[in-house]
Amino acid sequence: MSSKLIRGCVYLSAAVTFASLLFILLYIFINGLPHLNSDILSWKFTTDNQSLIPSLITTFIVLGLTLLIATPIGVFTGFYLVEYAKRGNKVVEVIRMATDTLAAIPSIVYGLFGMLFFVTFLGFQYSVAAGVLTSVIMVLPLIIRSTEEALMAVNDSLREASFGLGAGKLRTIFRVVLPVAMPGILSGVILASGRVIGETAALMYTLGTSSNLPSGLFSSGRTLALHMYVLSNEGIHVNESFATGVVLIIFVLIVNGLSTFLSNKLAKGTK
């Protein structure tokens, strides 16, 4: 009797999880797709059309620049932790604590730090530069973590073979270890992309919320997620919020598809 009850609860919970996704997707798509018309997809933002195209382009700019800066830093940090530092070293312990701390900080605190440091202290104002640098700091722990895990999964015999043939450390990393670890590192980068696309709290006080396309590195803009936030807080453009939500969710679907594809590839590669 009681086991039947528990069984029921377990099935119910699985169903609730499944249903909540289904509901979110259907709700946003059904309400948003009809409003995804030429008005909201026009090139210039006006108060009439509340176009999301400038935000869409800004999202790509912020995303691209963030990955461009964060990926090398994160990957090289991973190199140091796994390839250069002696295993079980104290330094590694400290760095791991530092990245763990970074990962645990709520995104609003990143936003406030960015506002204090980049916007005010360095005088960037609300700008693409401040937003990008803030999101770089935010995604670094994700990239470091996945690089570390990917590198550690590479079999030591590969490294030894490379050293045995007379290759140096850096050459071994780039020619032998990196190709094997690539899917893992990439999936970290994709995870980071998802985070940047969905981020609002960290960007609100660094990128600002200007509705136009930024004219340069030091001008403000807004990403899609911020666009949706501003629209729904104003409360008068609900339909446009739904339409923006559709585009955001499509992004999420793409990012998830890519990461599933890569993790399948990784699973095949290590076997």
Binding site: R7, F18, I73, F117, T200
Partner: protein, 307 residues
């Protein structure tokens, strides 16, 4: 002679190349440490200036229940009691964790113990998608679905702790579930086999063996969910109503640390008391994040020792 000597004493091209790789990765490491330290330094020093520069007492700040920055009370002390926000943050975090934990563990049991096939094929991608959905979308759905729903049932405005809890429940459910799945997955197969061989039923095995063995992992999952709920800003800000009052019930507007921060930070001038107290709120947030982090480490260590 000199030529030969320099050949032996100079670093070779290859050696320089190696040095280069080492230097670059060391610079990156130093950069990370610098970033962490400067975040801690900037936020905390700003947050402490409320107490050092403006002379607000820590007790008044932490336990005062009137939040009207810019105004002074009868005794001349500024009215910057953060208790309403602190309580609000703890209420929504605890309530959403209490709600989400049984669901998450049950869903994880389904995925690992009952139907691994469906779990892997259907629920795994579902959970990954739910984790990936941006918090604005959750907040927006809270605003357009949950708030009106609660307004219809309980009356009032619909904004408040209950709405925020519901939104956070849906938000942290996938996070906690996916970590609970990892925890159950880590339980060795022979534990289950031993229990079944002793005549334990499936449920006895799950309840008395698997869940017991996975407890540290499950706790970590819950703490992680709580950390996420505590730090979530915009989704909560959209549905909680943002009234800086000590919460008396679940359906009147309240506020959390994050919601007041998002609302007010843009409207204050750097360096004033109104601004400094906001940094003090941010400091509480940061300290709590560090606390959650230490807690997960501690649970991990304790759990590891038991084995």
């Amino acid at each position: 002679m000199e030529e030969t000597q320099s050949k032996f004493t100079q670093k070779s091209q290859k050696r320089k190349f190696e040095q280069f790789g080492r230097t670059i990765s060391f610079i990156c490491i130093a950069f990370i440490v610098l970033v962490v330290l400067s975040i801690l330094y900037f936020v905390i020093s700003k947050g402490l200036s409320t107490f050092t520069t403006d002379g607000v007492s820590v007790i008044d700040f932490l336990f005062g229940n009137t939040w009207r920055p810019g105004e002074v009370g009868e005794n001349g002390a500024p009215l910057v009691g953060a208790l309403p926000m602190i309580l609000g943050s703890f209420y929504v975090t605890l309530l959403s964790a209490v709600l989400a934990t049984p669901f998450a563990i049950a869903a994880a049991i389904y995925m690992i113990e009952i139907s691994p096939k469906n779990g892997k094929k259907i629920l795994q991608p579902v959970i990954e998608l739910l984790v990936g959905i941006p918090s604005v979308v959750y907040g927006f759905i809270g605003l357009t679905v949950i708030v009106p729903f609660i307004r219809n049932i309980f009356g009032g405005t619909g904004f408040g702790i209950l709405s925020a809890t519901m939104v956070l429940f849906v938000m942290i459910l996938p996070t906690v579930t996916s970590m609970a799945v990892d925890a159950l997955n880590a339980v060795p197969r022979h534990y289950r086999e031993a229990s079944l061989a002793m005549g334990g039923t499936r449920w006895q095995t799950i309840y008395k063996v698997v869940l017991r063995a996975a407890t540290p992992g499950l706790l970590t999952a819950v703490v992680f969910g709580m950390a996420r709920a505590f730090g979530e800003a915009l989704a909560v800000q959209m549905v909680i109503g943002n009234a800086a009052l000590v919460p008396t019930d679940l359906i009147t507007p309240a506020s959390t640390l994050t919601s007041i921060l998002t609302m007010s930070m843009g409207n204050t001038v750097m360096g004033t008391l109104e601004n400094n107290v906001l940094w003090s709120l941010a400091t509480i947030l940061l300290v709590m994040a560090l606390f959650f982090n230490i807690l997960t480490r501690w649970i991990g260590k304790k759990g590891a020792m038991k084995k």
